[in-house]
C-alpha cells in the first residue's frame, strides 16, 4: 500500500495490475499518445447482422471465460438488457467475466446471483444499491473499480479497459446497426454512454425491441461500430427508464440552499445574458434550474448554453428563449427526448465530448457554473458521493468528477444533515471528488468559499468571490464553522470497517483517489 497526494492509502499493484496514485486535480498527461484504436468490422456482402437470439450473439462474438463485457445505463432502473444477457451467459456456464456497466440500479440486483456462482468475478465502472451493499460486505473476489462517466471512456479509449463484447441497448435500430435511443416504445434518450463501448469493443451487439428498416435516424451510434443485432420483445420497462420521481424539492431547508445559491450567483454577476451552466436532476438542482429559468424570463435574459442531464426545466428554457443551446448526454424525462428529436439547438453529445479530459475539448469547460450534490463534504472541500457515512458503497461517481473538473465554478449544494447524520465532516469517508475541484459549498445556514486553493489563480479568484459575497452580507463562513453547524444537528456515525479492500475510486485521469474498505454487518 502507498499513500497518494490526498494522503489516502491505496495499493500500488493488485492482481498484477499497476495503479498510479492521484497526483493533482489537473490530472496527469495521457500515458499514451495514440489510443488503442478501433476495430475493422468487415462482413461478406449479403451476410446479415441480425441474429436470432442472445445465445447466437454469445456464440458469434466468441464470448468466453474471463472476458470483459460492457453495458450502458441509459435505461436506468427500467433496464432489462443487463439481466437478460447475464442470464443467458449463466445458462451457458461461462465464468469469471469482468463487467463494465456505466451505472447500475436496484433493478440489477439479480447480478448478485451471477457473482455468487462466479459468472461475474469483477465489476468496473459503477454500481449502486443492492450490489454495492453486497460488495461492501466483502462478497466479491476482486475490488470494484469505480470510475466517473468520462474516466470510464478515457480508460476504454486508452486501452486501460479492453472490452471483448459490448452490449448496446437501443430503442431503435436498423439492419446495419445504425441506432438511437430516441424513438420506439422504449425510448430513453441519447446513446452517449454506449458510444465508446461500441467503437472500441472487439465485438459489439445491439439489443433492440424496435428493428426498423434502414435508415434508423438520428444516428447516435453508427452501424460502422456494430457487428450484430438481436431483436428482443422488450429492452426494459419504460416506467423505470425515466426518472418518474423527478420532483422539485419543497423542503424549506432545501429551498433555502437554492435561495443562497441564487444570491451567490447574483452577487458575483453570473445571472446575465450569456450565462452557461449545468445542473443535475436532484430535487435541489431542479429547483435551482427552475429558479434560473423563471428569473431569466422575468428579466428578459438568455443563457447561452446548458449541459444536460436534461429535464423539462432546461427544455422549457430552450423553448421560451431563455436558453440558446443545450447539449445532452443523458435524458431524464420525455420532454428531453422530444426536444432532442425536434429542437435544432438541442444536440446529443458523447461522453468523450462531454467531459473526457484527455480529449482537450470538454463541453463542461465553457460552463460558468455547475451545481452538484454530495453525500458528505469535508473541511478540505473534498466530496464523497460513493459511500454512506456507515461505510457502505451505495453509489457510483456518475459525472461528479467530470463536471467539477470542467466547469469554471463548482458549487456543492448540500444540507447540513440528513436523518441526523452531519453531512459536513472532518474527513469524508471516501474521496470521490478532490476539494481542489470545489469552489463554493452552499448549505441552508451558511456557505464557504475555497480560498485555500493550491493554484494561485483559483485562490485569488475565489478570494475575490468571497469578498463580493461578504460585501452583500451573505452568510460566508469557514468550512470548520459549517462543520460545527452540521454537528449541532446530529452525531457522526462510526462505520464498522472490516479489513478487506473492496473498491478503488479512480480519478478521471486514471490515478487512484481512494480505497474503499469492507464493512462488518
Amino acid at each position: 500500500m502507498v499513500s497518494n497526494a490526498k494522503g489516502r492509502a491505496m495499493p500500488a499493484e493488485l492482481n498484477g495490475r499497476v495503479f498510479l496514485p492521484y497526483e493533482s486535480h489537473l490530472g496527469i498527461k495521457p500515458l499514451v499518445h495514440r489510443e488503442v484504436g478501433r476495430v475493422t468490422r468487415w462482413r461478406r456482402p449479403g451476410e446479415s447482422k441480425v441474429l436470432s437470439s442472445i445465445d447466437e450473439a454469445i456464440e458469434k462474438t466468441g464470448l468466453s471465460d474471463g472476458m470483459t463485457i460492457s453495458f450502458h445505463h441509459h435505461l436506468r432502473n427500467g433496464d432489462g438488457v443487463l439481466n437478460m444477457v447475464i442470464e443467458r451467459i449463466r445458462k451457458k456456464g461461462i465464468k469469471n467475466l469482468r463487467i463494465l456497466p456505466s451505472a447500475m440500479f436496484p433493478v440489477h440486483e439479480p447480478i448478485i446471483e451471477a457473482i455468487k456462482d462466479k459468472t461475474v468475478s469483477s465489476i468496473e465502472g459503477s454500481l449502486n444499491g443492492p450490489v454495492g451493499r453486497f460488495a461492501s460486505l466483502g462478497n466479491m473476489d476482486e475490488p470494484v473499480i469505480l470510475r466517473s462517466h468520462s474516466g470510464r471512456v478515457r480508460a476504454i479509449s486508452q486501452g486501460e479497459l479492453k472490452i471483448d463484447v459490448a452490449f448496446i441497448a437501443a430503442s431503435c435500430c436498423d439492419q446495419l446497426g445504425n441506432c438511437n435511443g430516441l424513438k420506439g416504445k422504449s425510448a430513453f434518450g441519447p446513446l452517449a454512454f454506449g458510444f465508446a463501448d461500441a467503437f472500441y469493443a472487439e465485438r459489439s451487439v445491439v439489443i433492440t425491441d424496435n428493428l426498423v428498416p434502414f435508415p434508423a435516424y438520428p444516428i447516435s451510434i453508427p452501424g460502422t461500430n456494430i457487428d450484430y443485432i438481436v431483436k428482443v420483445d422488450s429492452i426494459g420497462d419504460p416506467s423505470g427508464i425515466l426518472s418518474g420521481t423527478l420532483k422539485i424539492t419543497q423542503r424549506p431547508d432545501h429551498l433555502k440552499i437554492v435561495e443562497n445559491t441564487m444570491l451567490v450567483m447574483d452577487s458575483i454577476g453570473l445571472l446575465k445574458d450569456g450565462f452557461s451552466f449545468q445542473a443535475g436532476a436532484g430535487g435541489i438542482s431542479l429547483a435551482l434550474t427552475k429558479r434560473i429559468g423563471d428569473l431569466f424570463r422575468e428579466k428578459g435574459l438568455s443563457a447561452s448554453y446548458a449541459n444536460g442531464g436534461t429535464t423539462r426545466y432546461l427544455v422549457d428554457m430552450l423553448k421560451n428563449g431563455t436558453l440558446k443551446s443545450l447539449s445532452t448526454g443523458q435524458a431524464f424525462d420525455l420532454s428531453a427526448i422530444n426536444s432532442l428529436l425536434n429542437d435544432t439547438n438541442h444536440f446529443e453529445i458523447t461522453v468523450d465530448q462531454y467531459s473526457n479530459l484527455h480529449t482537450g475539448a470538454t463541453s463542461t469547460e465553457p460552463e460558468q457554473a455547475a451545481f452538484l450534490g454530495a453525500t458528505e463534504v469535508d473541511v478540505g472541500f473534498n466530496v464523497n458521493v460513493n459511500t454512506h457515512s456507515d461505510g457502505y458503497l451505495l453509489h457510483g461517481i456518475g459525472g461528479h468528477q467530470d463536471v467539477a473538473y470542467g466547469s469554471q465554478l463548482t458549487f456543492i449544494t448540500v444540507p447540513l444533515s440528513r436523518k441526523g447524520n452531519p453531512i459536513i465532516k472532518e474527513k469524508v469517508t471516501t474521496i470521490s471528488t478532490p476539494g481542489e475541484l470545489v469552489d463554493i459549498v452552499v448549505t441552508e445556514k451558511g456557505l464557504a468559499v475555497n480560498t485555500q486553493h493550491v493554484r494561485d489563480e483559483v485562490r485569488e479568484r475565489n478570494e475575490e468571490i468571497e469578498k463580493a459575497l461578504l460585501s452583500k452580507d451573505l452568510p460566508v463562513k469557514q468550512m470548520e464553522y459549517l462543520r460545527k453547524l452540521s454537528l449541532k444537528e446530529g452525531k457522526d456515525i462510526e462505520p464498522r470497517f472490516g479489513d478487506e479492500l473492496i473498491g478503488l475510486v479512480k480519478y478521471i485521469d486514471g490515478t487512484v483517489l481512494d480505497s474503499i474498505i469492507s464493512v462488518r454487518e
Copy 2:
C-alpha cells in the same frame, strides 16, 4: 510489374511501398483487425487552441520536410484553404510533402508551382484538371495514387496513409474546435470528408472564417479531434463553393437516356413505395432525380431513402413527402445546406458511414438503384472516370467505386459519344470501376445488362432483368452492339503515351486496379 485480375499491368513495389493487385470486386478482407487508432489531444487547462496565424499552426504542429498533410474538398472550386496553407509552407521552405486532398479543382492550379519547387513531392487522393494534366506530362517525381472517397478513408483509418497534419476548412467553429460547414458566410454543407482526417491525424488544425462562441452546432467534427484553430478572413469564394452551374440537361440525346432509365426501372418494378436510390449532380442525374420526384408526386408514391450528393431536387422530394429520409455527405447547393439545418429526416453522414467497405455498414448498401456517369465504358462493363481518351488524367474517382460497390443495382448513364469521341470502348483507357460492379449501361439508343457476371446470383438476377426488359420491348443490346453504335458517331482517339508511370488507381479495398501512363504533348 505484375498483372492484376483485370489483366492490367502494375508495380508490385514502388519506392519501398508494396502494392497488392486487384483480386475481386468483393474486395479483400481488411489486413488489419484493429485500425491505427486515434490520437489523445490533451492540453493544459486554460491553454487556448486558437492560434494567430497559419504560420503559428505550422510551427505548433511541427510540420516539416517529408510529412503528409491533408485537405478536404467541400469548398470545391471556391476553396481558398489548400492554396493558402501551401503558400505559407512554401514561404517557410518546407520540402517534399505528400498531400492528400480528397479532391482538387481548377482553383488549385497554383499547387503546380509548389510541385515545381519541391514543396510538394506527391499527391494521394484525388486530382483534377490542370494539376492532372501537369502530372500526365510526367512532371511529378512520384506517381499519383488515386483513391475513391471511401478508399481514402479506409486507407487513413487502417494506417496505409498516416496523416501528420490535417487542415480542416470550416465555415463555423468554436474555441474548442467543434465545427461544421453548415453555418457562416462560407457555408458549404457537411464536413464528411474531413472527419477521418481530423480523427486520425497526429495533429489537426481548423481553418475558419467564422469563429463563434461555444457551442458551434450542429457538431460535424467534435473539438475532441481538433488541436488548433486559425481564424482567417475568408476560407473561400462562396460563388465557387456551390456548383452554381447545376443544370438539368436539355439535350435531347441526354433526355433520351433519362427516358430509357425510367423505362428500365418501371419494367423491373422499382418505381414504387419504399424505393431507395442515389443520383449525382451531373445534368443527366439531375434530370433523372427530377423525373423520379415528379412521377412519385403524381402517383402519390414515396421513396424510403436517398443518399446525396444532395441537390434541391432531392430536397424537394423530402419536403413534399415523396422521400422519407435523406443522408448527405456532400452538398451541391444552398437548398441542401438549409435542409440539413432544418429537416429532422435529413442527416449528415461521414465517408466511413457512406461507403467504407471495411466498416460492414455502408449507407450505399440499402440503395436499390444508383445512377453514375462515365468518361468511357468498355464491352466488359468496366468504367473509366479518371482519364480522357487521349490519356490525360483529368478527374478523381470521387465516389464512383463506392456507390457501384454498395448499391444493389448500378446504372451507368452515358451518351454514345462526346464531341466525336465514341464513349463505348473495346477497352477503357483506365479502369476506375471494374465491370463486376456495373449492372446496366443505358445510352440514348440502347442499353445493355451485365449478364456475364462472375457471381451466379448477380448473373441470374441480371438475366431476369434482361428478360423483363425484352418483354417490354426495351432496346436491350449487347455491349458489343453499343460499341458499334458508338463507333458510328466518331473515331477512337489514339493516346500518345509516354513511358512513365504517373498514377495508380486503387480499388476501395486498397488493391491496385490500374496504372496510368504519361502522355507525350
